[in-house]
């Protein structure tokens, strides 16, 4: 097996594994840029994964091959609705944002597993039959050398993830809404003085993070696990948080970090069957995203600083 063939195995699996991380970490970028810490991304992914799978199972007969796409949209709505809890607790009731996030995570697992047992009368759902098909991107996959590595044997949703991260970058840095999100996260009082409605912007940002987290969860469950149980989402949300920090709270950075973590994950799965990699114990690849994030935070590879006001509720009139 030569190096080119190895790349043909690793790269598509890396991009596929990165897709849920990209969506979820973009959600994290929105929320934290507006000053609301969202540890609850893990729970939002759980909600998304559950909704995606259940929607898929119940309506696959109706929608046929469109089912996974509609399931992702349903998961997006479910994630958005669920994140209202986090928004109300953190923004209106001034709860500790980390604590609220922990509660979101516990509640998501409890609620979905309760419903799974209620609906299916066992510890996991049935397996879905309609998943995203693997495709070769027309034209692009014909490019010599690059095409077969990056554009063959992939999923459309994965390329959409990468495109969306550019859209999020545009929204955050080139639109009035994005400027307001960033202002509210850095210095809410100054933003308030300039007539920005801090509460409204923060609500919007947290709900967006819920929607993105829901999408991420649904994609992960649809492509990789094909069913839902208590361990379907096991650390994906926290890894997305890591990607967000590693990418320095920047959409493109988060996407890059998610791709890198995807690479680490893909190597830990397929590496054992490949030359060069089979001698590395998989534990190093498994912990790489987490350890690298800690190192990034300590400033050895360029310091990562959180938005100034993240974690603090904004109380009007308080100095």
């Amino acid at each position: 097996m030569d190096f080119y063939q190895v790349l043909q195995i690793i790269i598509p699996s890396m991009i596929a594994l990165a897709a849920p991380l990209i969506f979820t970490s973009l959600g994290g970028v929105f929320s934290e840029r507006a000053g609301v810490i969202n540890i609850g991304l893990e729970g939002l992914m759980v909600i998304g994964a559950f909704t995606g799978i259940v929607f898929n199972l119940m309506l696959a007969d109706v929608f046929g091959e469109w089912t996974p796409w509609l399931a992702v949209i349903a998961a997006m709505i479910a994630g958005l609705l669920f994140s209202i809890l986090h928004a109300v607790a953190c923004i209106t009731f001034r709860a500790d944002q980390t604590v609220s996030g922990v509660a979101i995570n516990l509640l998501a697992v409890g609620l979905t597993m309760f419903l799974v047992k209620l609906i299916f009368d066992k510890g996991q759902t049935d397996r879905i039959t309609e998943t995203f098909p693997r495709i070769d991107v027309p034209l692009l996959s014909d490019i010599p050398f690059i095409g077969p590595i990056f554009f063959a044997n992939g999923y459309y949703i994965v390329y959409i993830a990468i495109l969306i991260s550019f859209v999020v970058w545009y929204v955050l840095y080139k639109t009035p809404f994005g400027l307001r999100v960033r202002a509210v996260g850095e210095h809410p009082m100054a933003a308030d003085t300039m007539g920005v409605n801090v509460t409204k912007i923060r609500y919007a940002a947290v709900l967006l993070s819920g929607a993105f987290g829901g999408i991420g969860g649904a994609i992960y469950a649809t492509i990789f696990s094909n069913e839902f149980n208590h361990a379907t989402i096991n650390g994906q949300g926290f890894m997305a948080i890591a990607a967000m920090i590693f990418g320095k709270w920047h959409p493109i950075g988060a996407m890059g970090a998610a791709l890198f973590f995807g690479l680490a994950q893909s190597l830990s799965i397929v590496g054992s069957s490949l030359p060069f990699f089979k001698d590395i114990p998989s534990v190093y690849l498994l912990i790489a995203p987490y350890v690298l994030t800690i190192i990034a935070l300590t400033g050895f590879i360029g310091r990562a600083d959180a938005p100034k006001a993240s974690g603090q509720p904004y109380i009007k009139g308080k100095r």
Binding site: L85, A95, V102, V109, A231, I241, I287, T293
Partner: protein, 347 residues
Amino acid sequence: MSKHLSKLTSPLIAVILGLVVGAIIMLASGYDPIAGYGSMIGGIVGDSYYVGESVRTIIPYILAGLAVAFAFRTGLFNIGVEGQLIVGWLAAVWVGIAFDLPRIIHLPLAILAGAVAGALWAFIPGYLKAKFRVHEVIVSIMLNYTALHVTNYLIRNVLTDKLDKTERIADTASLRSPFFESITDFSRMHWGIVVAIICVIIMWFILERTKTGFELKAVGFNQHASEYAGMSVNKNIILSMVISGAFAGLAGAMEGLGTFGYAAVKGGFTGMGFDGIAVALLGANTAIGVVLAALLFGGLKAGALNMPLETGIPSEIVDIVIALIIFFVASSYFIRWIAARFKKGVK
């Protein structure tokens, strides 16, 4: 309403609200909430076996709660209790297997190994916070997953030859108690309850009766004032995390040496570390509060196991209730706001 009373009412209201919403969810899913909660209470104190199992569940909850609460008092959020617990579990079991010593040395040594491992694991976020001002929440979350994968690797490749769980610990390192077993109809209740109670006293003593405790609390109240008064903020941050981690490691050691007697490869977290956050919050971060909250949550968890057997209600309902209680405690501003409204209305 006096200030002292409202300190107690807000957690109480949170618990009641949590249970009420839990009942509504049961009703909405077509179950009888009274039968549900009845079977849960039966599962906590129904007979001596259930009592023993409840006590066993409460042991790690007390210790995990102490760990979170201790760090909170110094203004630190130790969300890494889960990871420290897993590491402590493995270390205690390792010592329990590897050595052949008389009980009087072996058991304390194994317990100590758990505490030290947890303390070391918590030292990392403490040190990074003190030295680089890195937020301890993110570091300890990352360390939770690192702990999970590293311990799984060690169990598979170092302690055993590709097996999914270690061999049993030596009897000389076991916390198992024939006495407790005989009075609780062979439940898995073990001597860990004594360790937990000792730790509660230690936490109370450190925080309320020593100079170190005073400094730790001072740093929690106001870092700048403590610095100005000549205390070393960095030293106290690290110390607080280390002590917190030791409690967490002990929680794991109790599971390893008492309940299970081995360490197994884990597909995911035990959840006890995160429930410890709930225990500490509800217990208002005091030693006695932690005990009361651990009794409640540990009891709920143990009792939940009886619900599917008697009434067919999935035990996850209790996870929902616990999560809701955390929500309501965290949003105590909302509870106080309602209470204020209510009082106005009465006038």
